[in-house]
Symmetry: D4
Subunit: 252 residues, 8 copies
């Protein structure tokens, strides 16, 4: 773990240029910016390789915008999920580079990995038209963090030939995200046919015994095909993030 | 609804051969035999076309055997489910025609439909080797009540080519029972490929989030393919019975 | 499985008129039309005997209308469920044959089976006035796909004599759909009295421990009468579709 | 509320024969006997009209027997539920009047109401043979506390004519206990036909989606017929106790 | 069971004044009026001693009003629950005797039992101010069907002395309804102190782990005090109806 | 337990100045004020050391305001939770000392403990910005009832160094409230690091499998670190109240 | 935070007596002993004020005994929960100071606080005889960690006068643990009467809708009385530990 | 997709050496071996890159052994999970190369990847000693399929310094499996500290509200740290398999 800023402080302490209290204060400042209502995790990138992501749900427009703008200072790229148009407007006024996707509800400023440096391929497959918004959240996330990404829509198992006609394409991926609601069978069927990890993304699509995504979640967790791991219901961000981590592994 | 015995009583009443109290008593006797702890439904066949079935779970050996033997009087065929070897032994002593299947836990005496009169075809498909016992309960039930029946084992969706290699065979059925545990995807995949009703039989196979068959049940209920209806978890009897009803519909 | 279009392509391939890549592309085109956000399953009818149905929930007006209109091209009949008035208006503008039922929320264009060719009888029985909308969804579905259909309303078990006064009528059906909320007892009571399959349709009618249809669903799954199979809560379409499949079996 | 013993103490206090501390101690002694591990509620009868009942589950043989024997001192009648044969043996040794019912698991000493003073009629109806043990617990409880009691077995709704043939008898009751597992429909059907309160007793009979009595419980709670109230799953004691309270109301 | 109208038809049949078909039609007409969307159970009073109650939830204004007005014909008293002001307005226009209670959401026309003929006493106790609406539904129901009724509000167990100061009053009741949300402890505490049946009415009051009334429901079902039986969450009508049945038992 | 008012009544009774009925009435009046729809618990402070708190949810504006104002009579301090701006306006008009906090939804009049008499320290730590409103409810509650209080925001375990940088501060507290949604891990991690009780406050923050706070609740209940006890989901008041009780214990 | 051992290492590092790698290794050794299958947390006492407790469930006899004996080295006191007699025997052989309580399933060696140094008072109250084992686990835990402790058994709310007769005693406690199964009402009733924190301990006592302690847990979480916080079902250890932490707060 | 055997058949068909029926039969034989009760998926390796794994639960000893031995023919390596000693004995007799791990319950024959060809590093971290068996199942799986693997035991968050002292080691992994029961916080804490994917493995360790692993599962699904995906409760095999897939991605 390289960390030159920390080493600087430690050396100052050892050499007496800073006393214990001073050292502690400076180390703390390296790690987060306190907005009062939020503590921005500025060194997350150093720790995990990727910058912190802003989750907008449950935050006021003002809170969300302040966190996004503070994080974006000095040209740092920012990615926010579950954003609203009103947050986008507040951010856009201050930072014209902000980009918003209404379906996926993602907001981004800048690029974490430049387009030409993206590598590998993450395919986001979704079972039905109604799963597309969550699939796009996964798509945008994987792209922002450095993956080439492709979306294959409406290949659910009720008409399984549609899936088979896309198999050649699916085999190109380093990792596949399978988004599905209702019984969530797509993930297991894909894992039985492919040699790469499948990240299962249960969606809240369906009614009655779909129970807001619980049926899909349980179906994906109990899939009889190995090579499936699952994220939270409707957590397109989590699926895209994990898919990108796996995809990037091929290039490190 | 033909019912000559009832008409006889009614006519006696109209003609004065029986008064009201007498008529009521005789009508009641037509319909059930009271063993004290059980009330055998002797006219179920007349009402629904099929004789009553004995469910052995929760009954003592003596109770179950008494009900089975009473029902079998006068050559009436009997079918019992969730039977135990000890019940079989008690029945066998009194009625040597009794037949027992240890895996399916079914016990039968005689044939409701003679072998040569069976018609149509019910296929019982099961996803894995562990689902076979429940599948056999469905198989024996459909056969006893008059269907030609065939079992196709271990064609779960984790290796979906095994299912495809049996499609020609599956297309011969008038109705298909799909037995599966875990995510229960087999039912929906079959319904998407076939033109006949699929009776989904969720099994308690699996662990953890399979929750004793709940995941399979929910997956089958929320299947995105139409043409699926579902019975209780591990209810092989119910699946086979419903499949036979549907299959027999073609011949009435 | 007859499939002349496919045989044509295969023959072209064998005779060299088409190379492997060409053959694959043409086969794929036979099976679905890709609208970008949806993949219409055009050959479902060939595979399962019935055309694909459009599920409108979770789709935008524009998406739903586009799928319906595309499917309806060349006079193909279309059936859509969970439709909204705004979808109907969008479709109606382009295709004046569209018909909408506000209570059942079904939209259809054309007839899959001509009225004079309908056969058999599906009876949709419902326990209370509040179950009628779901019952009508089942009714319309069974009718569109080729069954004669009748609705018997408000015969729930709290006043069981109302049910008994309709028994002669109920006995005419080849299959009965039983729609009920709350404790869902109607399905089991009917199955105990009839000789045909009962498709149980749990509805979300009720409050408190009705839990949005869960009580009805569980009651129907655990019914002590055989001859019941169950569809998802409020899934009138699924019930009507399965009932039609069973009813049509008598005529194949 | 008459309470001469208490009035005695109060008068002593007022008249100075006892000081405050003395008064408090004597009042406390009036109300319970402390065995260390248990606090016997000796004045429950005075407070509620009926003596305390001993619930044996979760108590060791020694604890249960000690509580039963202590309560039975001075000829007080005792009723214990969920008892085991080993508890009975321990009690029997000390008190030969103890009576045990293996199926109902009830143990009693003496009679709370003399046989000739029993009044009214509680009918305990059960849906199937497997529900009988719980039904008998209700039966014995109602009888011990002063009701004439009758058991009607195996009249579940799958063969509803069996129920109808017993209607005249059922109409004699002041209150009916309806014991049923699976979908628990018996309670609602009876309430729709009778003019007296129905106490619904869900049992854990059934498998799969019966979920150990939850389906029956929910079905009974959501019954569309008024005049039903429900006790805990398998709580035969509670059902019989409440039925007796209601039955006795006619005679107070 | 007295039933002069039915006897009339039967006699006509026996004497040949009516043939079988005619007899069946007339019998059917005695029992219900079919509005197409609803089947009014006109003889419920004869069967159970009390007229049918109209449950308005899930019915359109027009449907509910039509059922209420039809039932009220010829001066028959009517009671409706879960009614809305708009239903009341529609009914009021046609029948000026209609009375509406906004908090309880009950609507009634006429009196089933004349005020001077009410007897006994039902006390409806509620734990907190927030439970009052459901308590009033119980109150109105018991009153309409013939009980003297009293409401005791806000005596929950968090300040248990408030309950004790009302004990003398509570002891006057023939039956007590205990309405409570959250942990629902009021029912068990009352049953431990009183000698009459307690009908527990769980309400959906509370947040978080109150789960819309489930915690109160479970607490009431598992109460360690005997003499409690439970109705559905928020089912004030069911509680009041059962309480009245029990209360009336003293006077039959 | 000192209670001079009660002693006065008792002495009057002993000395004959008051008869039994008179004595009972006066004792009752000491303990609560009956507003018809509510029974204010005026002596709660005497019994438990703290005055009653008004829970506004489920009460109308008029009801809530009346209870608050009645309680505040004679300068008694009042604390109300889940209040709305409209309640505040109604109260403010009559009592200008009322103070409202929009985020925490608490309303107070006066101080139960004067600022200079507050003692000890309660720290309310929250995992994310979205948990702040509930945290503030806890904060205000602990402060009103006599604790010095501090809020530490946004130190969830996803960036655990933020938590470690605040450890010195956290060690100053006598008790810590840990508010967190999603997996609720903050409580267990803090308890593993601190020597004081942790009150875990699960919040409904999160989506999908967060199930409105159930995941956080379960995580906190099953925490492998001892020294954690849990309050209801979103029950900031309960957490702050319990924290204050514990904190105050050091000073009694 | 005092930590002389750590300061020693840091000073060695600063003065060059240890290089970075050496310093890291020595710091790590200060904090845990690695048995391969377990990592004993030796400095927990320093961090939280109390030594680590051994949870025996899910560990083999050999594993549990090894951990207990290793922790007990050098006279360190040890406390283990959910222990089995076979573990006790294995430990006893090596360390004759080991003490085992069969009901509570606790095993201890030595005293963390000498008997004469115990202070304050923790009262463990339990609702019924069946809750005693869990109550004793709480009792032993609080005692081992330094509290005077008293057990009050069988004061559940079904006979609430038994509780009232112990109020003077209960008022002596600094904190009360309330152990109860079924509806768990004891905790809320006590909190409404006392001025000290109540730690609610739900037990798995009960059947049917008690659901292994879920009903008690929910009832305690939703209690309408403030001053209650809850631990996991059957977690006597957690309740006793938290109670001791709170009790000890008065003496620090 | 290379598949020379299939190409051979297709060429035979094109050239006329095989007719359609013959071609179909030969293609089918390439893909599975039918044992009657099981259909071994022999070409899974070709399709997904890895051979089929045998899941022994729910299979008889004879069935399991037959499937394992058949799969192992011709030197094919085999891996079986949830195996029992009796299965091992049956296999060992026929194939002396079989290896069994009692804790992990895995059975293997041969090596899928030779030891010297293993690459990368999978670290399996577990929270407590009780999680070790599941962790070892993951460990053995990842190793069999080609990963270097390391186990780090007992680093749960209750003593979080133990985790920090292993961070350098954890940073060496290409992917980390985090096995934990109870609140399952380990997965989220690790994901917040590492730059590689974390596969969360919830275990059924814990009691009460741990609900057999549900709490851990929910906690892991809702973790606020990105980079976590989850497998079924106790599914050590699934976690190890997915981890290996990801780890191997770096080397393809």
């Amino acid at each position: 773990m390289k960390n030159p800023a920390l080493e600087l402080v430690l050396r100052s302490f050892k050499e007496g240029a800073a006393d214990l209290e001073e050292a502690k204060k400076r180390i703390s400042a390296l790690y987060s910016t306190d907005l009062g209502f939020a503590n921005i995790d500025l060194r997350r990138e150093e720790r995990t390789g990727f910058p912190e992501v802003v989750f907008c749900e449950g935050k006021s427009d003002a809170q969300a915008a302040a966190i996004i703008l503070e994080t974006a200072k000095n040209g740092r790229p920012v990615f926010a999920t579950r954003s609203r148009p009103s947050i986008f407007e507040a951010v856009k006024k201050e930072n014209p580079l902000a980009v918003y996707d209404l379906e996926a509800r993602t907001l981004s400023i800048g690029e974490f990995v430049k387009k030409e440096d993206r590598a590998g391929l993450v395919i986001v497959a979704c079972a039905g038209t109604s799963d597309i918004n969550r699939a796009k959240e996964a798509f945008n996330t994987a792209e922002f963090f450095g993956s080439n990404t492709r979306l294959i829509a409406d290949i659910g198992v009720a008409g399984i030939h549609r899936l088979f006609s896309r198999m050649d394409e699916l085999r190109e991926a380093k990792v596949v995200v399978a988004a599905a609601g209702m019984e969530g069978a797509l993930a297991g069927v894909l894992a039985g046919l492919l040699s790469v990890p499948v990240i299962a993304l249960p969606t809240s699509v369906g009614y009655g015994a779909a129970f807001g995504g619980i049926s899909a979640l349980l179906g994906m967790l109990t899939s009889c095909a190995p090579g499936v791991s699952v994220v939270n219901i409707d957590n397109g961000f989590g699926a895209g993030y994990q898919a990108n981590l796996i995809n990037r592994a091929s290039f490190r």
